[in-house]
Amino acid sequence: MAEKAILFDTSRCTGCHACQIACKCWNVLPSPTRLNENTFSGTHQNPPDLNGATRLIMTYSEADGALPNKPVAWAFGRRSCQHCTDAPCASICPSGTLYVHEESGMVTVDASKCVACHYCVTACPFDVPRYNGMQGKVNKCTGCVDRIEQGIAPACVSTCQPEALSFGDRDEMLAEAEKRLAMLKSRGYEHAVIYGAEEIGGLHVIQVFKYGVEAHGQVLDPKVSPITTLTNIMKPVTGVVAGATVIGLAVMFGLAAGYKRDKLAYNAETEDTISLETGEVIKHGDGQDTESVKEHITCNLPIGKKGGDHE
């Protein structure tokens, strides 16, 4: 099997949410079922971020349009694992839960091995892995390698009717992305760009953005912190004595705070968005944020003050 990739082409995406829902259905990820249990975000983006039972969301951001006959730029995005070639989550994972599926290059998950150390959460340059508090396991896109091994595309791709998502050999997806980019440029989308060709050693989700990287909610020039390498030193210790790593974890938290820079965190409790660089609340949800950055980082950890995740 050649190296594979998902291509997400925003020139064809209609923001219909079908990928998000197909992901939940195929992977048997529960949605709230009690009456009035869901809260509305005030936009089309629901739930507002990834969570312990949601591995893929569509994002929606609005800006004033730059094209003469398009007064609005309504950028649809895909927030999920990007399946890095040099996947820091996989390299840091002490238990073998996250690993690169060698045949396809997708970064997949064996949740049965998860020791809930949360290294992956801190390592991910895209802030993707979430914890399922009920199960104490990491929850992240698996790349649907179960489907890929059977010769079928990931669930999100199969369901996409406008053909904004496609799946195939990575080099073919990149070549297709070039064609799509040229099409967008010819339609006047001058900030259109391809994302994923080189980032983090090359991603296995190639994206073609109409309005530029940040407009579609992605990280411009993502970096793996050198501390990930340092952290790897702790890995054998953590892997062998998974239950007795309190000290090791404490070190990790210190390190983690160090390399989560240039990132935003979302607190589902307060519905605030926080800059991890400055500690400032970028966008208020409800009321003032009273917790420190460190508290925000640690609140989802097993030994943090809240014990489990926000689920």
């Binding site: 209609t14 949605s31 709230p32 009035n36 509305f40 629901n46 006959n69 398009k70 009717q161």
Partner: protein, 852 residues
């Protein structure tokens, strides 16, 4: 649709007006993307910047409810910029590359002379023939001047009309219209059209509709470029066009636009209604309407269709294909009443109920049904697969009306608002004496049967799982009810037994009701060799074999040919409706061997118009039909007479043969509210005057006089509101609110508000907003967005808001909410009886305690 979904890719310009198809028809967006990538321009005209607008090249805002001003401006633009400057050249025999005069002159009624009495009075906003007392028109002056008359030759081509077994009727006379092929006569349709729309200049249209002139002109210029021979533009519309007090005139306006541009009957063209539900096309075809029975044949009524003879004389066209209507009608009656239907009893016609049709009669259409409940006229109600307490306009009026019923039967998948109307927050169950019966219905996947999509494609679908617990397919519920009703009549007698006991009901296989035998009845069969009760049938190949002498039975002539394989009558996969061959021999996406397209597997209606007067296609690379000099080379099934008794018929101008004049109508006497689309403001308008004529709202709109409509004025309710759906939820939400992942993806209904209006009212995204008018008050969540902007209307700033309507009180898993349709007015279009959901007035404020 006159075309079909896959035909989108053949277009040069896509125009969305009154539809948001990538949101509401997400599967079809694939074909729009294909067109776009092949180079088509894409225009969206909509009050909001929608998901579809994001996909398009040009977005043009419009005030809700002003579509006819927009289309009228387009007609004026086409006439001023394309027709007038080139007409003399064309008549002098010169090449005109930018406009298709051959189409206009030969395939439309542009050259027909109208009655000298035909008139339109700008001062009053009325066409000739208006009767003030009844608020209705006589259409006599909207007809053509007659050149010559011709009678049916009942010894030749029309011998069937006087054959044994055919009921007696006087055949119609063909009145050949007078024409002026130079389009100079002041009474010709073209001159009248031109004069009518000179008022619709760019400035006036912008002032009414609220877009800027530059954008409007770009839209007109881009779309009217499809007037060039060989170019095609398609209009995609949905409820945004039909749900108005002039909704049918909106549809007429789109048709006139497409005819002026030569876009009807060509690949990538057409007037394309995107139907709202997976099978709403089928429901419409099957005659779930008060005025039409299956196959668009009119029901019996108490005036011009009070007897079979009157039906045949009023409904049979003098020329064209509908001269065959008696065959369809007699075959339908033979299926209804079987052996009991004979020529001596008018094939049982009088057993049919007659729709009251005098102007003074009560009205039994959708909206007025609830008025009749309020008036104690209707005491029992079968509510089958619909949820009027949620989806009908002025929904609080609907639930109060239903509280007046003695009994109510609801057949549905889930306990909808209608099934639990007494539980509404404003109802007191102690005061309500209605007995409610709930019949749990099987979901689409729990029953076999046929669905029809917007492109008229019929497909047989197999059952994939057993219905849940006691739920049953609708046809099984019908069967249980019907057999019990018949048993009661036989055992205990009852009122009016003949229609009941003479109705044929033999749709069983192995003693069980089965949709396959219903399919035989819909397709039609020769009676002499068939006995449905014994499982024996002699299926007809197509409707061309139907007879008016009682020898054939057919419940649905337009579907005929969809189930015609006599070798395996019980095997859906062996029938045309079961075809699954996705090879496209046409190269145009016709996919003629996939499913069956009514009528006659014709994929693009009116396809004669894709070729010129010599039968040569306008676009050489998009050939549907072509005259070779000896015969017609048919890529699609011909929608014209290509051969007569096996002899090829050379090309002529009879390109719309479903009309008696066989040319399309730019002007039409077929509408009840005017022969040309004229702009009127909605029932509730934010402005005090109509800038185009002296009538503010449509003089013919229905039910505005009902007290329950509670008209609101702009002084109290200054904001224009419209309603729509989101892709994550579906209509009343009964089905989608049961899917947790869909509820999670769109957990609430909301109001979209511009940043400007939100600032004025102190509202932020996520706040609870109270939306109110004279009919109701609802609280919904706010979405403050750049995608809605105030418009400049009549020189001032006009705010617009839009509401979704998927939640209410009957949620089990979802979100409890108010009923948005408490706000919408129960006034309707007089042609189609469709309510005006899409333009009405409200005011808004931040709800008390409305912060998130």
């Amino acid at each position: 649709m006159t075309s079909h979904w896959c035909d989108f890719r053949n277009t040069d310009v896509i125009l969305h007006c009154g539809s948001n198809s990538v949101e509401n028809h997400p599967v079809g967006s694939k074909w729009l993307n294909k067109a776009h990538e092949l180079g088509a321009k894409w225009i969206v005209v909509d009050p909001r910047y929608t998901r579809t607008a994001e996909m398009a090249d040009i977005y043009c805002p419009i005030r809700s409810g002003t579509d006819i001003a927009f289309y009228g401006g387009m007609f004026n633009y086409i006439i001023e910029r394309l027709i007038e400057p080139n007409l003399a050249d064309y008549l002098a025999g010169k090449e005109v590359p930018d406009y298709n005069f051959e189409y206009l002159l030969n395939y439309t009624n542009a050259s027909y002379l109208l009655d000298p009495e035909y008139d339109f009075d700008v001062e009053s906003g009325l066409f000739s023939g208006f009767d003030e007392a009844t608020k209705s028109y006589s259409n006599n002056s909207w007809r053509y001047q007659t050149d010559s008359v011709e009678e049916w030759d009942t010894t030749g081509a029309y011998a069937w009309a006087v054959a044994d077994g055919v009921p007696e009727f006087t055949p119609p006379v063909v009145k050949h219209p007078k024409r002026d092929m130079t389009l100079a006569d002041p009474m010709c349709v073209y001159q009248q059209l031109k004069n009518h729309y000179t008022r619709y200049d760019l400035d006036t249209v912008c002032n009414i509709c609220g877009m800027d002139k530059e954008t409007l002109e770009l839209v007109y210029e881009t779309y009217s470029a499809t007037a060039a021979p060989g170019k095609a533009g398609m209009i995609l519309y949905a409820l945004g066009q039909t749900q108005h007090t002039y909704g049918a005139q909106n549809t007429r306006a789109m048709s006139v636009m497409q005819l002026l541009l030569g876009n009807v009957g060509v690949p990538g063209g057409g007037v394309n209604a995107l139907r709202g539900e997976p099978n709403v096309q089928g429901a419409t075809d099957m005659g779930m309407l008060v005025n039409e029975q299956p196959g668009y044949l009119k029901w019996a009524n108490t005036t011009d269709r009070s007897s079979l003879r009157k039906w045949l004389e009023s409904q049979t066209n003098s020329d064209g294909y509908y001269t065959n209507k008696p065959k369809f009608m007699i075959s339908a009656l033979k299926e209804w009443f079987g052996d009991a239907a004979t020529v001596d009893n008018d094939y049982g016609y009088d057993w049919w109920p007659k729709v009251p049709s005098k102007k003074t009669d009560p009205d039994y259409t959708h909206v007025s049904t609830f008025e009749l409940m309020s008036q104690d006229v209707i005491k029992g109600f079968f509510c089958w697969g619909m949820n009027p307490c949620h989806s009908a306009p002025n929904a609080s009026n609907v639930r109060r009306a239903m509280a007046n019923l003695d009994w109510l039967v609801v057949a549905d998948l889930v306990a909808t608002e209608s099934a639990t109307f007494w539980k509404a927050p404003d109802m007191n169950p102690a005061d309500i004496n209605t007995t409610v019966y709930f019949l749990p219905a099987a979901l689409i996947y729990e029953k076999p049967g046929i669905v029809v999509n917007s492109g008229r494609w019929l497909q047989y679908r197999y059952q994939s799982l057993e219905p849940w617990e006691e739920a049953k397919p609708d046809f099984e519920m019908c069967d249980l009810l019907w057999t019990e009703i018949c048993r009661l009549y036989e055992d205990e007698d009852g009122a009016n037994p003949d229609p009941i006991l003479n109705t044929k009901w033999d749709y069983y296989i192995d003693g069980k009701i089965d949709p396959r035998t219903v399919a035989w009845a819909l397709n039609g069969y020769r009676i002499s060799d068939s006995n449905l009760a014994e499982g024996k049938v002699d299926l007809l190949p197509s409707y061309s074999k139907l007879a008016a002498d009682g020898s054939t039975a057919c419940a649905m002539w337009i579907y005929s040919g969809f189930w015609n394989n006599n070798n395996a009558p019980l095997d859906p996969s062996a029938q045309p409706v079961g075809r699954r061959d996705n090879n496209d021999e046409s190269g145009l996406g016709l996919y003629s061997n996939w499913a069956f397209s009514w009528p006659a597997n014709r994929r693009i209606l009116y396809n004669r118009n894709s070729a010129d007067m010599n039968g040569k296609p306008w676009a050489a690379d998009k050939k549907l039909v072509e005259w070779t000099g000896e015969k017609w080379d048919l890529v699609d099934q011909a929608d014209f007479v290509a051969a007569n008794n096996g002899v090829p018929v050379p090309p002529d101008d009879k390109s719309f043969f479903m009309l008696w004049e066989q040319n399309a109508r730019l002007e039409s006497y077929g509408m009840v509210d005017g022969p040309l689309p004229e702009f009127y403001e909605p029932f509730e308008s934010p402005v005090g005057e109509n800038l185009l004529n002296g009538a503010l709202s449509s003089p013919c709109m229905s039910f505005a006089e009902y007290e329950s409509t509670k008209h609101g004025d702009a002084s109290d309710y200054p904001i224009v509101a419209t309603t729509y759906s989101v892709t994550e939820q579906w209509q009343g939400g009964g089905q989608t609110r049961m899917c947790p992942a869909l509820v999670e993806a769109m957990p609430a209904q909301f109001i979209e508000i511009s940043e400007e209006l939100a600032a004025e009212k102190g509202i932020e995204s996520g706040d609870k907003v109270r939306v109110f008018n004279n009919r109701g008050s609802v609280e919904v969540a706010a979405v403050v967005t750049k995608r809605v902007k105030p418009l400049q209307v009549h020189g001032g700033q006009q705010h617009l808001v839009g509401l979704t309507h998927h939640y209410s009180w009957a949620g089990v898993f979802g979100t409890e909410a108010a009923t948005v349709n408490d706000l919408t007015p129960n006034v309707v279009d007089p042609n189609s009886f469709t309510p005006e959901y899409k333009a009405f007035l409200v005011n808004i404020e931040k709800a008390t305690g409305g912060e998130r």
